[in-house]
């Protein structure tokens, strides 16, 4: 979705180095007018929004991944630079706002100068002015503007201070931004000498516009500048290059050889347990709401085709998936907080050494962490890994990490295994499943790394260079808004698939024999419904299909009904739960959606025999199947897109799903051999 072009609609692009306050400024300018959004922890694609109406400028605004220079080395930088030169839908920008952290002026002006030299219309937004002031310096923006040849404004994206000047300048000049022919950059033409020359130029500019604040009350800027001779200038420069002392102190602990690891594990365990504990009450509430809705529809529309379509096909199908939205939101929230505080970069640094032993990179950390939310943003986040081989290997193992789509499946199955007062065990087992998903992904990475170039054929320089931003208090409001939008976007993507599949499965489990004839002598109304339900399912299209896959299910101790649910879950894992809800649910009962499903599962038998379908061993088998199988169309599609060929997604599909079937078979039959039913 791109904003409609107006006659005077400007296209403004925001560019800047990582941690320069670019996204904060983007959020301030765009308010809630998001069109696209990046997932927390992974600004790896451009995001488009409209400038807020209150600013009275018709403009589309683009945020892009942070870049160090116009010569990209990673996949996310390539996107940032390409979209800067020509956005696929919006074309060339009328204006480029480059964010420059004034407390590290020379590093950030480097990029700004490159962009100015490439003939873009540039405005520099100087951020973190307060941090520079704490060091006793400030930037003479007029001098800088004159030396670097573009407008310069001091802004604060958090409070909006200074943005009015910037915006009124844009407003006054909105018809005057002419598109000049751009200087094309070619990596081959840029060598290390050019880098050094550009830095020399920048340092001269920096020397002339950076001024020491003599004392807080009476600042005579021009005079102070003149009085600086070469020697004091050098001392002054040392002072302004000082880094945040508090950050160094915190890092002494968080990167410490023992405490660093302790805190790393504490932070990670907190992240995963809170997904479970904080979400549980909200999930129960959502579950209750959907059950009431479903009952309400049945009462209103009656027990006919239309009522059952609404209650079963739509409300229960969608509801069984909506239950796990709180968990996704909480994971996004924590990821956003960790990113905003600055800890994610430390996590990546800590884990670089062990990960490099198995062919991964410290920069695989954020993708792997996002993988617990969803493999899709995770595979996109892998763009930050410069080495192609390491990037492909990271993408390869990501489907093994326990994504949130598996949560509703595990939640249902574990609730079956550990009902009522034993629910606390379910929490521990879930933690073990998470831990095991890390272990299995690491093992698979190590094995594939050993197999060398047979699976992943790419080789180049392996490196790890990452800025450690100063620690700061995360901005709850910004993180929460981002979480909300990520969640919404996630739903918009997953929602339609789930809705369509729910209707699809409802149809195939209800027809062709929607109103089966049964012997109604001497039985209660309630039993008639139950009998009709089971007869309808037994003679449905899904049953016909199920009989074909029955031979595959029998070795796992399952029947065709679970088979249908498992196959439908190949579109998206969470569909398993909605399919189970449709296949096993007895429509009218009291309590929550979850409870009535569990009750129905407990009573189901294999075929006409007395053997129970869901036993501890068969449930464990299904859990193991879900831990390994690559059951997600979107993951396969994004893997194809990010790796550039079908090779890796097909290998993932075959290897992981084959492994899933094999291990599940071994587990079920092994457990039964040792006497567990």
């Amino acid at each position: 979705m791109t904003p409609k072009p107006f006659a005077d609609n400007l296209f403004i692009t925001l560019v800047g180095p990582p941690n320069s306050g670019k996204t904060t400024l983007f959020n301030y300018f765009s308010g809630k007018n998001y069109k696209t959004v990046n997932y927390p922890g992974a600004t790896v694609d451009s995001a488009i929004a409209n400038l807020q109406k209150k600013f009275n400028i018709n403009a589309s605004l683009m945020d892009s991944p942070g870049i160090v220079s116009l010569y990209p080395e990673t996949a996310d930088e390539v996107i940032a630079v390409n979209h800067l030169y020509k956005h696929p839908k919006l074309g060339k920008p009328d204006l480029v706002i480059v964010t420059v952290d004034s407390s590290q002026l020379s590093r950030h002006l480097y990029l700004a100068k490159q962009i100015i030299d490439s003939n873009f219309n540039v405005i520099i937004a100087l951020t973190m002015v307060d941090i520079l002031e704490q060091k006793g310096f400030e930037v003479d923006e007029e001098k800088l503007s004159e030396l670097i040849d573009c407008k310069v404004f001091k802004v604060d994206g958090r409070s909006g201070k200074g943005t009015d000047n910037l915006l009124s300048f844009i407003n006054a000049n909105k018809n005057g931004f002419k598109k000049k022919p751009l200087q094309n950059n070619n990596s081959a033409n840029n060598n290390t000498d050019d880098v050094l020359l550009l830095y020399k130029e920048i340092e001269l500019i920096e020397d002339n516009c950076l001024i020491e604040i003599e004392n807080n009350k009476n600042i005579n800027l021009k005079k102070a500048n003149k009085q600086l001779n070469l020697i004091t200038n050098k001392i002054a420069k040392k002072k302004c290059n000082q880094i945040d002392a508090r950050t160094v102190k915190i890092d002494k602990v968080l990167l410490h050889s023992t405490w660093g690891l302790v805190f790393f594990f504490l932070i990670m365990s907190f992240t995963f347990t809170s997904i479970f504990w904080f979400a549980q009450p909200i999930m129960n509430f959502v579950s209750y709401i959907f059950q009431s809705l479903s009952d309400e529809f049945l009462t209103l529309a009656g027990n006919n085709l239309f009522g059952m379509f609404l209650a079963n096909g739509i409300v229960n199908g969608v509801g069984s998936v909506a239950i796990f939205i709180p968990q996704i939101l909480i994971l996004f929230l924590i990821l956003g907080l960790l990113e905003d505080s600055g800890y994610l970069a430390r996590g990546a640094m800590l884990i670089d050494k062990p990960l490099s032993k198995i062919g991964l990179n410290g920069k695989s950390f954020v993708p792997m962490l996002s993988g617990f939310a969803c493999a899709i943003p995770a595979m996109m986040a892998a763009r930050t890994i410069p080495n192609r081989r390491e990037r492909l290997l990271t993408i390869f193992i990501l489907p093994l990490l326990s994504c949130s789509a598996r949560l509703p499946v595990y939640t249902l199955l574990l609730a079956f295994l550990f009902p009522g007062d034993k629910a606390w065990i379910a929490g521990i087992v879930l933690a073990a499943i998470y831990l095991f998903s890390i272990i299995s992904s690491v093992l698979v990475a190590a094995i594939i790394n050993k197999l060398n170039n047979k699976v992943i054929n790419a080789e180049d320089n392996s490196s790890f260079i990452l800025e450690l931003p100063a620690y700061r208090k995360p901005e709850i409001k910004v993180v929460a808004i981002n979480m909300w939008h990520s969640g919404k976007l996630y739903l918009q993507k997953a929602g339609p698939i789930i809705l369509v599949l729910s209707i699809f499965i409802w149809f195939f489990t209800s027809f062709p024999n929607f109103d089966p004839e049964i012997n109604t002598d001497n039985i209660k109304q309630e039993q008639i419904h139950e009998l009709k339900d089971s007869e309808r399912l037994a003679t449905s299209y899904a049953a016909d299909f199920g009989k074909i896959i029955q031979p595959l299910m029998t070795p796992l101790g399952l029947d065709w009904r679970v088979g249908v649910a498992l196959i439908s879950a190949f579109t998206a894992r969470e569909v398993f739960v909605s399919s189970m809800a449709l296949i096993f649910k007895v429509t009218d009962s009291n309590g929550s959606l979850m409870e009535s499903m569990l009750g129905a599962m407990k009573n189901s038998k294999i075929g006409n025999s007395e053997q129970k379908l869901f036993t501890p061993s068969s449930i464990i088998g299904i859990i193991i199947f879900f831990m390994f199988a690559l059951q997600c169309l979107s993951t396969i599609a994004i893997s194809r897109k990010e790796t550039g060929s079908w090779r890796i997604p097909l290998l993932q599909l075959i290897i992981f799903s084959g492994l899933a079937y094999f291990l599940s078979f071994v587990a079920v039959n092994g457990l039964r051999f040792f006497g567990l039913s």
Binding site: C240, D352, I465
Partner: protein, 73 residues
């Protein structure tokens, strides 16, 4: 030849040169490690690698194998 990979915690030195044959050299220069800059090793990671070096008002984490192209004497 001493490189930034040989630094100890708290060592403050001036960059003498950058080995441009090194595959990471260009990125190292771009993030600000240019000859004449004063750098300090502020922290090491849990396993002593990567290391955190301050340069131009910020801290960059880099592997010792990358820091190896920053010549300090």
């Amino acid at each position: 030849m001493k490189t930034a990979a040989d630094l100890k915690c708290g060592d403050k030195v001036t960059i003498n040169g950058v080995n441009i044959e090194h595959p990471s050299a260009k990125r190292i220069l771009e993030v600000g490690f240019t000859p004449g800059q004063e750098i300090e090793l502020v922290n090491k990671s849990v396993f002593d690698d990567p290391i955190a070096i301050s340069v131009r008002g910020t801290v960059i984490a880099l592997r010792k194998s990358d820091a190896d192209c920053i010549i300090i004497s």
